[in-house]
Amino acid sequence: MKRLTWNTLLVRYPSLFALILLVLTIAVNFIVQPKLFAIDTLNSNMRVFLPLILLSAGQAVVILGGGIDISVGAIVCIVNTILATRVGLQGSPEAMLQYTALSLLVGILAGAINGFFVAHLRLQPIITTYATSFLYGGLALYILPNPGGGIPAPIAELYRSSTPFGIPLAFFVIAILLLLWGYLRSTRYGNYLYAVGGKAQAAYETAVPVVWLQFSTYVISGFMAALSGVAITMLSGAGNAEIGLAMTLTSITAVVIGGNALSGGVGGVAGPVMGAIALSFVQNIISFARIDTWWETLVKALIIIVALATPGIINLFRRRT
């Protein structure tokens, strides 16, 4: 019965590990960067973290539904190249608005393509989205073969230095994100998501619209990737067709650290968001502590392994005693 209690704990509070990690990384970060809680420092950190947070939230939804989306980084790239080439450094705010809207539509469309293959044609999610990531990545390179272009500096500045009520913009975005998720998971859709991710066959037999649900998770993920693309473009102000590629794996890492089971049906979005923030802090610590950058990969890898192994190690000790 004790072993069950641990399992129950993990199922009920899967983000426990992410929370502990977050507190730890903030503490260490505070040591190397004592001004961490000054509004400017906080803002300059959070605006860098936000694109990954948005991406991880979308990834979390797909993984909860039992899938995975390897193409999110490439969708970020497409959005970045669209904005950088269409709006341009001298563009108007209206153009920025229009192309942001278009970008979000492109994200939804890219997600819908993934969803069609995975949900309707029942193809393997990893392989399918890996393949479409080349499609989307290639498209980004076609739009913008060499780094260049960008968006007007005043618009970028809007993202970079807005602190309404003295609170960094990113916190508002995160708050809205978590509120939306909280609503979503308490609706019937939320139940379907957990049911399909938990045991798709049983959900099907219970008359849950499994195909429609799986499709919708990829659309959500595509949309979140496009938002992330908009954020990262406003952060950098410039265009680069490979800007988001490395973010795909980091977003999956954040979801795993956040306590979501890769097999689906366990976890949430708050955990992955904390995971994304913690991972970003790790990156921060390493650059501030003036350690070689390869340490970053090593530390991230160690964190993933510990996150995955913790329940197993605890069970091992329980068995011994």
Partner: protein
């Protein structure tokens, strides 16, 4: 509310395998129809055609006289058909309440699921089985934490929560103990009175005679007989099912093993579930273990096999045998046939050959003497009368009874001296059961010792000389010889002393 559903000449193929070639069933409001057949005869397939989980390849479904086509379970649910699935349709990571009301969650104005209403409605449903739960079951308990009988009850309540016009019960009693079955039957009688139509699929003949009004028998995908229960005897039904006269007739071997030397001696076995179990087993004995489900039987067998920690002493042929790992048990000649064959007994997608040889590969050298392995597996298949397309075909292509034969076969390959069987005939058809009984009797004659846990009381009485009845982690009673009667077994299972009854 009334309904009459008939399935006519249903054909269903899975790839090249014909699961149903001519399935027929008729069911009306206010009656219980038993769908009977050996394993692999197409019962589950027919039920999945009725509830829209699979689409049919031929034949016709008529609902209230009108032809209809189910494209998915959704459309069947809309027509008021719901099912208790043999493999359960529960999501392990979700709570009891969320599972039961999935797709019909009561919503508040903003589309938010109203937890309070869900809980209240769940409590109401749970009250149908009040007093039948061994754990403190609550609407927010996780399904994965429940023992199998409670999962089964939740699956039943979930199907009922649809308030269906037609309820299909596919092996719904397989994991239940006799008290729970009794309660279920009371409820079935009530639902029948309310005008629900019920299709009842079970391997337990006794239950079928108790509950069903009519029967329909499937054999190899064809409906071979149907009629009123009152016009047929158990023997004739079984005859229809297996098309042979070699029926259910098994008998204990006359020879007593009480004079044989004691080979297994267990003293004061304790762990989280067991509360001081002591007994002795003689060489060549077929010792039955009975009692309600989940009274520690599985725990006892796993402890003996070194799979879970325990305290106490065990001697096997005079040697201490407190195993800390199944490997040690295997090396000492123990074999465990687990109760959950899909999860613990077999590698479902791998071939029959690999499954049979899994515990024995070490004997075939390096590199593997694959031809010898095949010959040995072939011989085991012949000995067990395994019906299969070939040794290389995956075990998932076998019927339930044949898959179970592979689980036993893989241990017999090692020629164990003691077999621990955890409810090996659960969900197995009568034909295969009869073969099992013959096999077990023969193994005992060869001098092998068998510990045989079964949830089927008749089986224990018919097969064993001695039965230990477990109750709440300890041995309630030991029934031997003349005292081994059904009445005593049931009384002991329920924790009643049988002193005056014997």
């Amino acid at each position: 509310m009334t309904l009459s559903l008939s399935a006519r000449n249903i054909v269903k193929r899975y790839g090249g395998v014909v699961a149903l070639s001519d399935g027929n069933l008729e069911v009306n409001s206010g009656e219980v129809v038993a769908l009977i057949g050996a394993n692999g005869s197409g019962k589950s397939t027919l039920s999945k055609v009725l509830n829209g989980v699979v689409t049919l390849d031929g034949g016709q479904l008529l609902l209230d006289g009108k032809p209809l086509h189910f494209a998915s379970p959704q459309s069947a649910k809309k027509m008021g058909i719901s099912t208790v699935f043999q493999e359960l349709s529960l999501i392990p990571q979700m709570s009891v309440a969320d599972n039961i009301w999935l797709t019909r969650e009561p919503l508040s104005p903003l589309g938010v699921v109203s937890k309070a209403t869900v809980f209240a409605k769940t409590e109401e449903l749970l009250s149908l089985f009040t007093g039948m739960f061994k754990t403190e079951l609550r609407p927010d308990s996780l399904v994965s934490d429940l023992p199998s009988d409670e999962k089964q009850i939740i699956e039943i309540l979930k199907a009922v929560s649809f308030n269906p016009r037609l309820l299909i019960l596919d092996e719904a009693t397989a994991s239940l103990d006799s008290r729970q079955v009794h309660r279920l039957f009371d409820l079935v009688a009530k639902w029948k009175g309310e005008g629900k139509a019920i299709v009842f699929i079970s391997h337990r003949m006794e239950e079928i005679f108790q509950i069903a009004d009519r029967y329909s028998v499937l054999r190899n995908g064809k409906t071979v007989g149907a009629g009123d229960m009152k016009d047929i005897t158990e023997k004739d039904l079984v005859k229809l099912m297996i098309d042979k006269d070699s029926v259910f007739q098994y008998a204990r071997s006359g020879t007593s093993t009480a004079e044989n030397p004691v080979c297994l001696e267990v003293k004061d076995l304790r762990n989280q579930v067991l509360r001081g179990i002591s007994f002795e087993v003689h060489e060549g004995e077929l010792l039955g273990i009975g009692g309600l489900q989940g009274q520690g039987q599985r725990n006892l067998l796993l402890s003996l096999f070194g799979d879970i920690p325990f305290s106490g002493t065990i001697h096997f042929n005079g040697q201490p045998a407190q195993f800390r790992h199944p490997r040690q048990a295997m090396e000492s000649g123990f074999a465990l046939v687990p109760g959950d064959r899909a999860r613990e007994g077999l590698l479902y997608i791998r071939s029959t050959l690999e499954n049979l040889q899994l515990p024995s590969w070490a004997r075939y050298g390096f590199p593997l003497k694959i031809d010898k392995a095949k010959d040995d597996a072939e011989r085991m298949g012949a000995r067990l009368k395994l019906v299969m397309a070939g040794l290389q075909e995956p075990v998932s292509s076998l019927s339930g009874g044949n898959a179970q034969k592979v689980v036993i076969g893989k241990w017999l390959m090692r020629q164990p001296s003691i077999l621990l069987l955890d409810d090996p005939t659960k969900g197995v058809d009568v034909g295969t059961k009869a073969e099992f009984y013959a096999l077990l009797t023969k193994l005992c004659e060869e001098g092998k010792t068998i510990l045989f846990y079964s949830s089927d009381d008749e089986e224990l009485i018919g097969l064993c000389d001695r039965v230990l009845v477990l109750h709440d982690g300890s041995i309630q009673t030991e029934l031997v010889g003349a005292a081994l009667t059904k009445e005593n077994l049931i009384a002991a299972s329920l924790g009643v002393a049988h002193g005056d009854a014997s």
